[in-house]
Symmetry: C2
Subunit: 303 residues, 2 copies
Protein backbone atom coordinates (compact mmCIF):
# COMPACT_ATOMS: atom_id res chain seq x y z
CA UNK A 1 0.00 0.00 0.00
CA UNK A 2 1.37 3.39 -0.89
CA UNK A 3 1.76 6.14 1.66
CA UNK A 4 1.43 9.90 1.28
CA UNK A 5 5.24 10.18 1.27
CA UNK A 6 5.31 8.14 -1.95
CA UNK A 7 3.23 10.53 -4.05
CA UNK A 8 3.66 14.28 -4.47
CA UNK A 9 1.26 16.82 -3.02
CA UNK A 10 -0.11 17.83 -6.42
CA UNK A 11 -0.82 14.20 -7.38
CA UNK A 12 -2.42 13.51 -4.00
CA UNK A 13 -4.76 16.50 -4.25
CA UNK A 14 -5.78 15.49 -7.76
CA UNK A 15 -6.72 11.98 -6.59
CA UNK A 16 -8.61 13.24 -3.54
CA UNK A 17 -10.71 15.98 -5.10
CA UNK A 18 -11.92 13.54 -7.76
CA UNK A 19 -13.82 11.78 -4.94
CA UNK A 20 -16.06 14.69 -3.87
CA UNK A 21 -18.66 16.92 -5.56
CA UNK A 22 -17.14 20.13 -6.91
CA UNK A 23 -18.39 23.58 -7.76
CA UNK A 24 -20.06 23.21 -11.18
CA UNK A 25 -19.26 26.75 -12.35
CA UNK A 26 -16.09 27.84 -10.62
CA UNK A 27 -14.76 31.24 -11.72
CA UNK A 28 -11.25 29.79 -11.32
CA UNK A 29 -10.10 26.22 -11.79
CA UNK A 30 -8.89 23.97 -9.00
CA UNK A 31 -5.23 24.68 -8.30
CA UNK A 32 -5.42 28.47 -8.43
CA UNK A 33 -4.34 30.49 -5.40
CA UNK A 34 -7.94 30.96 -4.21
CA UNK A 35 -11.37 29.59 -5.07
CA UNK A 36 -13.45 32.23 -6.86
CA UNK A 37 -17.21 32.40 -6.38
CA UNK A 38 -19.38 34.48 -8.71
CA UNK A 39 -22.29 35.83 -6.67
CA UNK A 40 -24.19 36.76 -9.84
CA UNK A 41 -23.92 39.27 -12.69
CA UNK A 42 -25.49 42.08 -10.65
CA UNK A 43 -22.38 42.13 -8.44
CA UNK A 44 -19.27 44.05 -9.47
CA UNK A 45 -17.08 42.00 -7.09
CA UNK A 46 -16.32 38.30 -6.92
CA UNK A 47 -15.84 36.37 -3.67
CA UNK A 48 -12.48 34.71 -2.95
CA UNK A 49 -12.13 31.73 -0.58
CA UNK A 50 -8.84 30.39 0.77
CA UNK A 51 -7.64 27.95 3.40
CA UNK A 52 -4.12 27.33 4.66
CA UNK A 53 -2.37 25.83 7.68
CA UNK A 54 0.82 26.21 9.69
CA UNK A 55 2.15 23.08 11.39
CA UNK A 56 4.71 23.07 14.20
CA UNK A 57 8.14 21.67 13.18
CA UNK A 58 7.07 22.08 9.52
CA UNK A 59 6.29 25.80 9.13
CA UNK A 60 7.67 27.10 12.44
CA UNK A 61 9.76 25.86 15.36
CA UNK A 62 9.12 25.73 19.10
CA UNK A 63 11.53 28.65 19.52
CA UNK A 64 9.90 30.81 16.81
CA UNK A 65 8.32 33.85 18.49
CA UNK A 66 4.57 33.20 18.61
CA UNK A 67 3.79 36.72 17.43
CA UNK A 68 5.76 36.03 14.23
CA UNK A 69 3.91 32.73 13.77
CA UNK A 70 0.62 34.64 14.02
CA UNK A 71 1.72 37.22 11.45
CA UNK A 72 2.84 34.46 9.08
CA UNK A 73 -0.39 32.49 9.45
CA UNK A 74 -2.49 35.43 8.29
CA UNK A 75 0.04 36.89 5.83
CA UNK A 76 0.30 33.66 3.80
CA UNK A 77 -3.42 33.84 3.09
CA UNK A 78 -3.32 37.59 2.38
CA UNK A 79 -0.60 36.84 -0.16
CA UNK A 80 -2.95 34.40 -1.93
CA UNK A 81 -5.58 37.13 -2.25
CA UNK A 82 -2.93 39.47 -3.68
CA UNK A 83 -2.08 36.77 -6.22
CA UNK A 84 -5.63 37.01 -7.63
CA UNK A 85 -5.73 40.83 -7.70
CA UNK A 86 -7.98 40.90 -4.63
CA UNK A 87 -7.98 41.80 -0.96
CA UNK A 88 -8.79 39.94 2.27
CA UNK A 89 -12.04 40.41 4.22
CA UNK A 90 -12.99 37.93 6.97
CA UNK A 91 -10.88 35.26 8.67
CA UNK A 92 -11.75 32.05 10.53
CA UNK A 93 -8.99 30.68 12.76
CA UNK A 94 -8.83 27.10 14.02
CA UNK A 95 -6.15 26.27 16.59
CA UNK A 96 -5.30 22.69 17.54
CA UNK A 97 -2.77 23.00 20.37
CA UNK A 98 -1.37 20.71 23.06
CA UNK A 99 -2.94 21.33 26.48
CA UNK A 100 0.51 22.14 27.88
CA UNK A 101 0.83 25.20 25.58
CA UNK A 102 1.41 28.38 27.60
CA UNK A 103 -1.55 30.74 27.53
CA UNK A 104 0.96 33.55 26.90
CA UNK A 105 2.11 31.75 23.72
CA UNK A 106 -1.45 31.58 22.42
CA UNK A 107 -1.99 35.24 23.28
CA UNK A 108 1.17 36.25 21.37
CA UNK A 109 -0.01 34.14 18.44
CA UNK A 110 -3.26 36.12 18.33
CA UNK A 111 -1.41 39.43 18.76
CA UNK A 112 0.60 38.58 15.65
CA UNK A 113 -2.55 37.63 13.77
CA UNK A 114 -4.07 40.92 14.90
CA UNK A 115 -1.02 42.85 13.62
CA UNK A 116 -1.48 41.40 10.15
CA UNK A 117 -5.28 41.65 10.08
CA UNK A 118 -5.02 45.34 11.00
CA UNK A 119 -2.27 46.00 8.45
CA UNK A 120 -4.52 44.77 5.64
CA UNK A 121 -7.93 45.92 6.84
CA UNK A 122 -9.25 42.43 7.57
CA UNK A 123 -11.15 41.06 10.58
CA UNK A 124 -11.61 37.87 12.55
CA UNK A 125 -15.10 36.48 12.00
CA UNK A 126 -14.97 33.19 13.88
CA UNK A 127 -12.90 30.24 14.96
CA UNK A 128 -12.61 26.94 16.72
CA UNK A 129 -10.16 25.41 19.17
CA UNK A 130 -9.20 21.85 19.98
CA UNK A 131 -6.54 20.11 21.98
CA UNK A 132 -4.08 17.76 20.33
CA UNK A 133 -2.49 14.81 22.19
CA UNK A 134 0.65 15.53 24.23
CA UNK A 135 3.66 15.53 21.94
CA UNK A 136 1.64 16.25 18.81
CA UNK A 137 2.59 19.22 16.66
CA UNK A 138 0.41 22.32 17.00
CA UNK A 139 -1.67 23.18 13.94
CA UNK A 140 -3.01 26.63 13.09
CA UNK A 141 -5.52 26.47 10.30
CA UNK A 142 -6.74 29.63 8.61
CA UNK A 143 -9.70 30.12 6.29
CA UNK A 144 -10.68 33.45 4.83
CA UNK A 145 -12.99 35.23 2.48
CA UNK A 146 -11.76 38.00 0.24
CA UNK A 147 -13.04 39.95 -2.72
CA UNK A 148 -11.84 41.14 -6.08
CA UNK A 149 -13.44 43.55 -8.54
CA UNK A 150 -14.68 41.52 -11.48
CA UNK A 151 -12.49 43.44 -13.92
CA UNK A 152 -9.37 43.00 -11.78
CA UNK A 153 -9.42 39.21 -11.27
CA UNK A 154 -6.24 37.54 -12.49
CA UNK A 155 -6.03 33.75 -12.76
CA UNK A 156 -2.89 31.68 -13.15
CA UNK A 157 -4.38 29.89 -16.15
CA UNK A 158 -4.69 32.79 -18.59
CA UNK A 159 -1.07 33.45 -19.63
CA UNK A 160 -0.26 33.44 -23.36
CA UNK A 161 2.76 32.23 -25.27
CA UNK A 162 5.30 35.07 -25.75
CA UNK A 163 4.07 36.93 -22.65
CA UNK A 164 6.92 38.26 -20.55
CA UNK A 165 7.51 36.72 -17.10
CA UNK A 166 8.20 39.11 -14.23
CA UNK A 167 8.73 38.72 -10.51
CA UNK A 168 8.64 41.23 -7.65
CA UNK A 169 11.29 41.52 -4.95
CA UNK A 170 14.28 39.26 -4.33
CA UNK A 171 14.13 35.48 -4.15
CA UNK A 172 15.77 32.94 -1.85
CA UNK A 173 17.05 32.86 1.71
CA UNK A 174 13.58 33.39 3.19
CA UNK A 175 14.46 31.01 6.04
CA UNK A 176 16.77 33.69 7.49
CA UNK A 177 13.75 35.75 8.52
CA UNK A 178 11.58 36.83 5.61
CA UNK A 179 9.40 33.71 5.85
CA UNK A 180 8.13 35.06 9.16
CA UNK A 181 7.87 38.82 8.58
CA UNK A 182 7.20 39.22 4.86
CA UNK A 183 4.79 41.83 3.55
CA UNK A 184 2.09 40.39 1.29
CA UNK A 185 2.08 42.28 -2.03
CA UNK A 186 -1.48 43.60 -1.79
CA UNK A 187 -0.57 47.19 -2.63
CA UNK A 188 1.59 46.16 -5.56
CA UNK A 189 -1.02 43.72 -6.88
CA UNK A 190 -3.72 46.38 -6.72
CA UNK A 191 -1.53 48.81 -8.67
CA UNK A 192 -0.73 46.16 -11.26
CA UNK A 193 -4.32 45.05 -11.92
CA UNK A 194 -5.41 48.70 -12.08
CA UNK A 195 -2.66 49.89 -14.44
CA UNK A 196 -0.83 47.01 -16.11
CA UNK A 197 -3.08 44.01 -15.66
CA UNK A 198 -1.09 40.77 -15.76
CA UNK A 199 -2.31 38.04 -18.09
CA UNK A 200 -1.66 35.45 -15.33
CA UNK A 201 -0.38 35.73 -11.75
CA UNK A 202 0.39 33.69 -8.61
CA UNK A 203 2.45 34.16 -5.49
CA UNK A 204 5.79 32.37 -5.14
CA UNK A 205 5.28 30.18 -2.09
CA UNK A 206 7.04 26.93 -3.02
CA UNK A 207 9.94 28.53 -4.91
CA UNK A 208 10.12 29.78 -8.50
CA UNK A 209 11.31 26.36 -9.64
CA UNK A 210 8.06 24.73 -8.52
CA UNK A 211 5.67 27.63 -9.02
CA UNK A 212 6.64 28.86 -12.49
CA UNK A 213 6.00 25.42 -14.07
CA UNK A 214 2.58 25.46 -12.33
CA UNK A 215 1.65 28.84 -13.82
CA UNK A 216 2.89 27.78 -17.26
CA UNK A 217 1.08 24.43 -17.11
CA UNK A 218 -2.18 26.05 -15.94
CA UNK A 219 -1.89 28.44 -18.90
CA UNK A 220 -1.13 25.64 -21.36
CA UNK A 221 2.31 27.07 -22.07
CA UNK A 222 5.99 26.24 -21.77
CA UNK A 223 8.47 28.72 -20.35
CA UNK A 224 12.06 29.90 -20.49
CA UNK A 225 13.95 31.95 -17.95
CA UNK A 226 17.31 33.65 -17.91
CA UNK A 227 19.04 32.29 -14.80
CA UNK A 228 21.33 35.31 -14.73
CA UNK A 229 18.32 37.63 -14.54
CA UNK A 230 16.70 35.99 -11.49
CA UNK A 231 16.83 38.55 -8.65
CA UNK A 232 18.63 36.84 -5.76
CA UNK A 233 18.60 37.97 -2.15
CA UNK A 234 22.11 39.26 -1.26
CA UNK A 235 24.29 36.36 -0.15
CA UNK A 236 22.00 33.78 -1.73
CA UNK A 237 22.94 31.73 -4.78
CA UNK A 238 20.77 31.04 -7.80
CA UNK A 239 19.82 27.53 -6.71
CA UNK A 240 18.52 28.82 -3.39
CA UNK A 241 16.70 31.67 -5.14
CA UNK A 242 14.95 29.13 -7.34
CA UNK A 243 14.34 26.45 -4.75
CA UNK A 244 14.03 27.84 -1.23
CA UNK A 245 10.40 28.95 -1.43
CA UNK A 246 8.34 31.03 1.00
CA UNK A 247 9.28 34.17 -0.95
CA UNK A 248 5.66 35.37 -1.15
CA UNK A 249 6.52 37.57 -4.09
CA UNK A 250 4.29 38.01 -7.15
CA UNK A 251 5.10 36.04 -10.30
CA UNK A 252 3.15 37.17 -13.35
CA UNK A 253 2.99 37.15 -17.12
CA UNK A 254 2.38 40.29 -19.13
CA UNK A 255 2.01 41.18 -22.81
CA UNK A 256 5.51 41.90 -24.22
CA UNK A 257 4.64 45.20 -25.94
CA UNK A 258 4.13 47.23 -22.74
CA UNK A 259 6.85 45.68 -20.55
CA UNK A 260 9.19 48.64 -20.87
CA UNK A 261 6.45 51.09 -19.82
CA UNK A 262 5.51 48.83 -16.89
CA UNK A 263 9.10 48.60 -15.66
CA UNK A 264 9.61 52.37 -15.89
CA UNK A 265 6.34 53.20 -14.09
CA UNK A 266 6.94 50.54 -11.44
CA UNK A 267 10.35 51.99 -10.60
CA UNK A 268 8.82 55.40 -9.88
CA UNK A 269 5.83 54.05 -7.88
CA UNK A 270 7.69 51.34 -5.92
CA UNK A 271 11.29 52.57 -5.82
CA UNK A 272 12.18 50.21 -2.95
CA UNK A 273 10.90 46.97 -4.48
CA UNK A 274 12.54 45.58 -7.61
CA UNK A 275 10.44 44.28 -10.49
CA UNK A 276 12.46 42.00 -12.74
CA UNK A 277 11.94 40.55 -16.21
CA UNK A 278 13.11 36.95 -15.88
CA UNK A 279 11.84 35.17 -19.00
CA UNK A 280 8.78 34.45 -21.07
CA UNK A 281 6.02 31.95 -21.73
CA UNK A 282 6.42 29.78 -24.83
CA UNK A 283 4.27 27.35 -26.80
CA UNK A 284 3.59 24.31 -24.61
CA UNK A 285 5.83 22.03 -26.66
CA UNK A 286 8.80 24.39 -26.44
CA UNK A 287 10.71 25.76 -23.48
CA UNK A 288 11.09 23.56 -20.43
CA UNK A 289 9.32 20.34 -19.90
CA UNK A 290 7.16 20.44 -16.78
CA UNK A 291 8.29 17.20 -15.23
CA UNK A 292 11.12 17.26 -12.77
CA UNK A 293 10.61 20.86 -11.73
CA UNK A 294 13.68 22.76 -10.96
CA UNK A 295 16.23 20.33 -12.39
CA UNK A 296 15.13 21.76 -15.69
CA UNK A 297 16.16 25.28 -14.82
CA UNK A 298 19.76 24.48 -15.62
CA UNK A 299 20.51 25.36 -19.18
CA UNK A 300 18.17 27.87 -20.71
CA UNK A 301 18.71 31.46 -21.69
CA UNK A 302 16.09 34.08 -22.34
CA UNK A 303 15.14 33.94 -25.99
CA UNK B 1 2.81 30.64 33.73
CA UNK B 2 -0.59 29.17 33.09
CA UNK B 3 -1.20 26.58 30.40
CA UNK B 4 -4.20 26.01 28.18
CA UNK B 5 -5.18 23.05 30.39
CA UNK B 6 -5.64 25.48 33.29
CA UNK B 7 -8.36 27.59 31.70
CA UNK B 8 -11.54 26.48 29.99
CA UNK B 9 -12.09 26.70 26.24
CA UNK B 10 -14.70 29.44 26.55
CA UNK B 11 -12.40 31.59 28.72
CA UNK B 12 -9.46 31.01 26.39
CA UNK B 13 -11.42 32.07 23.31
CA UNK B 14 -12.64 35.18 25.09
CA UNK B 15 -9.06 36.21 25.95
CA UNK B 16 -7.74 35.51 22.47
CA UNK B 17 -10.39 37.23 20.36
CA UNK B 18 -9.93 40.41 22.41
CA UNK B 19 -6.47 40.68 20.79
CA UNK B 20 -7.57 40.91 17.15
CA UNK B 21 -9.79 43.24 15.10
CA UNK B 22 -13.35 41.97 14.85
CA UNK B 23 -16.24 42.42 12.50
CA UNK B 24 -17.76 45.81 13.46
CA UNK B 25 -21.31 44.88 12.48
CA UNK B 26 -21.73 41.14 12.91
CA UNK B 27 -25.23 39.85 12.32
CA UNK B 28 -24.58 37.34 15.13
CA UNK B 29 -22.41 37.77 18.18
CA UNK B 30 -19.20 35.84 18.80
CA UNK B 31 -20.03 32.47 20.30
CA UNK B 32 -22.95 31.62 18.06
CA UNK B 33 -22.83 28.44 15.96
CA UNK B 34 -21.72 30.33 12.82
CA UNK B 35 -20.54 33.82 11.94
CA UNK B 36 -23.23 35.71 10.03
CA UNK B 37 -22.33 38.23 7.33
CA UNK B 38 -24.91 40.65 5.98
CA UNK B 39 -24.08 41.27 2.30
CA UNK B 40 -26.37 44.31 2.21
CA UNK B 41 -30.10 45.06 2.39
CA UNK B 42 -30.65 44.27 -1.30
CA UNK B 43 -29.94 40.60 -0.54
CA UNK B 44 -32.66 38.32 0.81
CA UNK B 45 -30.08 35.85 2.15
CA UNK B 46 -27.30 36.21 4.71
CA UNK B 47 -23.92 34.48 4.44
CA UNK B 48 -22.88 31.98 7.14
CA UNK B 49 -19.22 31.16 7.87
CA UNK B 50 -18.03 28.26 10.00
CA UNK B 51 -14.76 26.49 10.81
CA UNK B 52 -14.22 23.26 12.73
CA UNK B 53 -11.56 20.60 13.13
CA UNK B 54 -11.22 16.89 13.84
CA UNK B 55 -8.06 15.76 15.63
CA UNK B 56 -6.82 12.18 15.77
CA UNK B 57 -7.05 10.58 19.25
CA UNK B 58 -9.42 13.42 20.27
CA UNK B 59 -12.33 13.20 17.79
CA UNK B 60 -11.55 9.86 16.17
CA UNK B 61 -9.21 6.91 16.69
CA UNK B 62 -6.67 5.23 14.43
CA UNK B 63 -9.08 2.32 13.99
CA UNK B 64 -12.08 4.53 13.11
CA UNK B 65 -13.02 3.89 9.47
CA UNK B 66 -11.72 6.83 7.45
CA UNK B 67 -14.96 7.11 5.51
CA UNK B 68 -16.82 7.69 8.79
CA UNK B 69 -14.24 10.31 9.83
CA UNK B 70 -14.88 12.11 6.54
CA UNK B 71 -18.65 12.05 7.03
CA UNK B 72 -18.26 13.36 10.58
CA UNK B 73 -15.89 16.17 9.53
CA UNK B 74 -18.43 17.60 7.09
CA UNK B 75 -21.57 16.71 9.09
CA UNK B 76 -20.42 18.64 12.20
CA UNK B 77 -20.26 21.82 10.15
CA UNK B 78 -23.56 21.10 8.39
CA UNK B 79 -25.12 20.74 11.84
CA UNK B 80 -23.92 24.25 12.73
CA UNK B 81 -25.64 25.66 9.65
CA UNK B 82 -28.83 23.83 10.66
CA UNK B 83 -28.53 25.44 14.09
CA UNK B 84 -28.89 28.90 12.48
CA UNK B 85 -31.80 27.93 10.20
CA UNK B 86 -29.50 27.80 7.18
CA UNK B 87 -27.91 25.40 4.74
CA UNK B 88 -24.33 24.64 3.65
CA UNK B 89 -22.85 25.83 0.34
CA UNK B 90 -19.05 25.62 -0.21
CA UNK B 91 -16.39 23.77 1.77
CA UNK B 92 -12.64 24.26 2.16
CA UNK B 93 -10.76 21.24 3.52
CA UNK B 94 -7.29 21.39 5.07
CA UNK B 95 -5.59 18.10 5.89
CA UNK B 96 -2.46 17.91 8.04
CA UNK B 97 -1.44 14.25 7.97
CA UNK B 98 1.69 12.24 8.80
CA UNK B 99 3.67 11.27 5.69
CA UNK B 100 3.23 7.61 6.63
CA UNK B 101 -0.58 7.84 6.22
CA UNK B 102 -1.83 5.32 3.67
CA UNK B 103 -3.10 6.93 0.47
CA UNK B 104 -6.10 4.58 0.72
CA UNK B 105 -6.94 6.10 4.13
CA UNK B 106 -6.93 9.61 2.70
CA UNK B 107 -9.06 8.47 -0.23
CA UNK B 108 -11.63 6.91 2.11
CA UNK B 109 -11.62 10.13 4.14
CA UNK B 110 -12.54 12.10 1.02
CA UNK B 111 -15.14 9.49 0.00
CA UNK B 112 -16.83 10.05 3.36
CA UNK B 113 -16.68 13.81 2.94
CA UNK B 114 -18.15 13.38 -0.53
CA UNK B 115 -21.02 11.25 0.88
CA UNK B 116 -21.99 14.05 3.26
CA UNK B 117 -21.49 16.91 0.79
CA UNK B 118 -23.75 15.12 -1.71
CA UNK B 119 -26.38 14.35 0.94
CA UNK B 120 -26.75 18.05 1.73
CA UNK B 121 -26.21 19.62 -1.69
CA UNK B 122 -22.84 21.18 -0.84
CA UNK B 123 -19.56 21.23 -2.79
CA UNK B 124 -15.82 21.32 -2.23
CA UNK B 125 -14.40 24.70 -3.29
CA UNK B 126 -10.76 24.41 -2.23
CA UNK B 127 -8.26 23.06 0.22
CA UNK B 128 -4.74 22.73 1.42
CA UNK B 129 -2.54 19.88 2.59
CA UNK B 130 0.47 19.68 4.85
CA UNK B 131 2.51 16.99 6.48
CA UNK B 132 2.77 16.75 10.27
CA UNK B 133 5.85 15.31 12.02
CA UNK B 134 5.97 11.52 12.50
CA UNK B 135 3.93 10.57 15.55
CA UNK B 136 1.84 13.73 15.50
CA UNK B 137 -1.93 13.43 15.45
CA UNK B 138 -3.63 14.01 12.09
CA UNK B 139 -5.79 17.14 11.89
CA UNK B 140 -8.66 17.67 9.46
CA UNK B 141 -9.79 21.27 9.44
CA UNK B 142 -12.98 22.29 7.69
CA UNK B 143 -14.21 25.74 6.76
CA UNK B 144 -17.45 26.40 4.97
CA UNK B 145 -19.81 29.03 3.69
CA UNK B 146 -23.54 28.64 4.02
CA UNK B 147 -26.61 30.78 3.60
CA UNK B 148 -29.84 31.52 5.37
CA UNK B 149 -32.86 33.51 4.24
CA UNK B 150 -32.89 36.75 6.17
CA UNK B 151 -36.30 35.98 7.70
CA UNK B 152 -35.24 32.48 8.78
CA UNK B 153 -32.05 33.28 10.70
CA UNK B 154 -32.20 32.06 14.31
CA UNK B 155 -29.53 33.12 16.81
CA UNK B 156 -28.82 31.56 20.17
CA UNK B 157 -29.03 34.97 21.86
CA UNK B 158 -32.68 35.82 21.24
CA UNK B 159 -34.54 33.50 23.63
CA UNK B 160 -37.03 35.09 26.05
CA UNK B 161 -37.90 34.27 29.62
CA UNK B 162 -40.84 31.83 29.81
CA UNK B 163 -40.07 30.40 26.36
CA UNK B 164 -40.35 26.63 26.25
CA UNK B 165 -37.16 24.60 25.72
CA UNK B 166 -37.31 21.71 23.26
CA UNK B 167 -34.82 19.21 21.89
CA UNK B 168 -34.93 16.90 18.86
CA UNK B 169 -34.00 13.22 18.95
CA UNK B 170 -32.50 11.22 21.79
CA UNK B 171 -29.49 12.30 23.84
CA UNK B 172 -26.45 10.43 25.17
CA UNK B 173 -24.41 7.41 24.16
CA UNK B 174 -23.24 9.02 20.93
CA UNK B 175 -19.83 7.36 21.39
CA UNK B 176 -21.42 4.01 20.50
CA UNK B 177 -21.72 5.11 16.88
CA UNK B 178 -23.94 8.15 16.41
CA UNK B 179 -20.99 10.55 16.76
CA UNK B 180 -19.71 9.16 13.46
CA UNK B 181 -22.85 8.63 11.40
CA UNK B 182 -25.34 11.21 12.68
CA UNK B 183 -27.66 13.06 10.33
CA UNK B 184 -27.44 16.85 10.66
CA UNK B 185 -30.93 18.26 11.27
CA UNK B 186 -31.07 20.46 8.15
CA UNK B 187 -34.52 19.25 7.04
CA UNK B 188 -35.98 19.63 10.51
CA UNK B 189 -34.43 23.06 11.00
CA UNK B 190 -35.83 24.28 7.70
CA UNK B 191 -39.30 23.06 8.63
CA UNK B 192 -39.07 24.72 12.03
CA UNK B 193 -37.92 28.14 10.80
CA UNK B 194 -40.57 28.04 8.05
CA UNK B 195 -43.48 27.01 10.25
CA UNK B 196 -42.69 27.41 13.96
CA UNK B 197 -39.69 29.70 14.11
CA UNK B 198 -37.70 29.17 17.31
CA UNK B 199 -36.82 32.24 19.37
CA UNK B 200 -33.28 30.86 19.86
CA UNK B 201 -31.52 27.71 18.63
CA UNK B 202 -28.20 25.86 18.68
CA UNK B 203 -26.99 22.34 18.07
CA UNK B 204 -26.09 20.09 21.00
CA UNK B 205 -22.43 19.31 20.40
CA UNK B 206 -20.89 19.45 23.90
CA UNK B 207 -23.85 17.91 25.73
CA UNK B 208 -27.07 19.51 26.96
CA UNK B 209 -25.42 20.25 30.32
CA UNK B 210 -22.86 22.53 28.68
CA UNK B 211 -24.88 23.81 25.75
CA UNK B 212 -28.16 24.77 27.43
CA UNK B 213 -26.42 27.16 29.85
CA UNK B 214 -24.69 28.72 26.82
CA UNK B 215 -27.98 29.32 25.03
CA UNK B 216 -29.57 30.72 28.19
CA UNK B 217 -26.57 32.96 28.95
CA UNK B 218 -26.44 34.28 25.38
CA UNK B 219 -30.14 35.12 25.68
CA UNK B 220 -29.69 36.78 29.07
CA UNK B 221 -31.91 34.19 30.73
CA UNK B 222 -31.82 31.47 33.34
CA UNK B 223 -33.31 28.06 32.71
CA UNK B 224 -34.99 25.08 34.33
CA UNK B 225 -35.35 21.57 32.97
CA UNK B 226 -37.28 18.51 34.00
CA UNK B 227 -34.66 15.76 34.29
CA UNK B 228 -37.35 13.12 33.90
CA UNK B 229 -38.39 14.62 30.56
CA UNK B 230 -34.93 14.52 28.95
CA UNK B 231 -35.13 12.03 26.04
CA UNK B 232 -32.41 9.46 26.67
CA UNK B 233 -31.00 7.05 24.11
CA UNK B 234 -32.16 3.50 25.07
CA UNK B 235 -29.69 2.01 27.55
CA UNK B 236 -28.26 5.40 28.46
CA UNK B 237 -28.79 7.07 31.85
CA UNK B 238 -29.72 10.69 32.45
CA UNK B 239 -26.18 11.76 33.37
CA UNK B 240 -24.83 10.43 30.08
CA UNK B 241 -27.72 12.03 28.19
CA UNK B 242 -26.83 15.38 29.73
CA UNK B 243 -23.06 15.09 29.59
CA UNK B 244 -21.86 12.85 26.76
CA UNK B 245 -22.12 15.39 23.97
CA UNK B 246 -21.77 14.94 20.18
CA UNK B 247 -25.56 14.48 19.95
CA UNK B 248 -25.86 17.00 17.08
CA UNK B 249 -29.53 17.45 17.84
CA UNK B 250 -31.32 20.83 17.79
CA UNK B 251 -31.95 22.62 21.10
CA UNK B 252 -34.30 25.56 20.81
CA UNK B 253 -36.60 27.91 22.66
CA UNK B 254 -40.11 28.67 21.49
CA UNK B 255 -42.99 30.86 22.64
CA UNK B 256 -45.11 28.82 25.11
CA UNK B 257 -48.51 29.58 23.53
CA UNK B 258 -47.96 27.50 20.36
CA UNK B 259 -45.96 24.59 21.83
CA UNK B 260 -48.87 22.16 21.69
CA UNK B 261 -49.54 22.93 18.02
CA UNK B 262 -45.83 22.56 17.25
CA UNK B 263 -45.60 19.18 18.97
CA UNK B 264 -48.69 17.86 17.18
CA UNK B 265 -47.56 19.04 13.72
CA UNK B 266 -44.00 17.77 14.31
CA UNK B 267 -45.27 14.29 15.12
CA UNK B 268 -47.09 14.08 11.80
CA UNK B 269 -44.24 15.54 9.69
CA UNK B 270 -41.33 13.74 11.42
CA UNK B 271 -42.92 10.59 12.89
CA UNK B 272 -39.54 8.91 13.35
CA UNK B 273 -37.78 11.68 15.26
CA UNK B 274 -38.98 12.68 18.72
CA UNK B 275 -39.35 16.34 19.66
CA UNK B 276 -39.42 16.78 23.44
CA UNK B 277 -40.39 19.62 25.76
CA UNK B 278 -37.70 19.56 28.45
CA UNK B 279 -38.01 22.86 30.31
CA UNK B 280 -38.15 26.61 29.93
CA UNK B 281 -36.12 29.80 30.01
CA UNK B 282 -36.48 31.94 33.14
CA UNK B 283 -35.44 35.41 34.25
CA UNK B 284 -31.66 35.49 34.47
CA UNK B 285 -31.63 35.64 38.27
CA UNK B 286 -33.88 32.58 38.61
CA UNK B 287 -33.43 29.01 37.45
CA UNK B 288 -29.95 27.57 37.38
CA UNK B 289 -26.83 29.51 37.89
CA UNK B 290 -24.54 29.27 34.87
CA UNK B 291 -21.36 28.46 36.70
CA UNK B 292 -20.42 24.84 37.17
CA UNK B 293 -22.37 23.64 34.19
CA UNK B 294 -23.98 20.32 34.54
CA UNK B 295 -23.53 19.85 38.29
CA UNK B 296 -26.47 22.20 38.53
CA UNK B 297 -28.77 19.91 36.59
CA UNK B 298 -29.39 17.86 39.69
CA UNK B 299 -32.39 19.16 41.53
CA UNK B 300 -34.79 21.10 39.36
CA UNK B 301 -38.24 20.24 38.08
CA UNK B 302 -40.10 21.85 35.23
CA UNK B 303 -42.11 24.72 36.63
Amino acid sequence: LSQLRDIGEDALIERLIALVPRDMAPAAGPGDDCAVVDPGPEHSSLVLLKTDALVGHVHFLPETPARAVGWKAIARVVSDFAAMGGKPDRFLVTIALPAETEVAWAEDLYRGMGDCLRAFGAVLAGGESSSVPIGSAPVISIAATGSVERSKLVLRSTGKSSDALLVTGLLGGSIHGKHLNFTPRIKESDWLVSNYKPTAMMDVSDGLAKDLPRLAAASGCGWVIDRAAVPCTPGVGIDAALGDGEDFELLFSFGPERVEALLADWASVFPDLPLTLIGQLTPVDEGNSLSGGWDHFGNLGLR
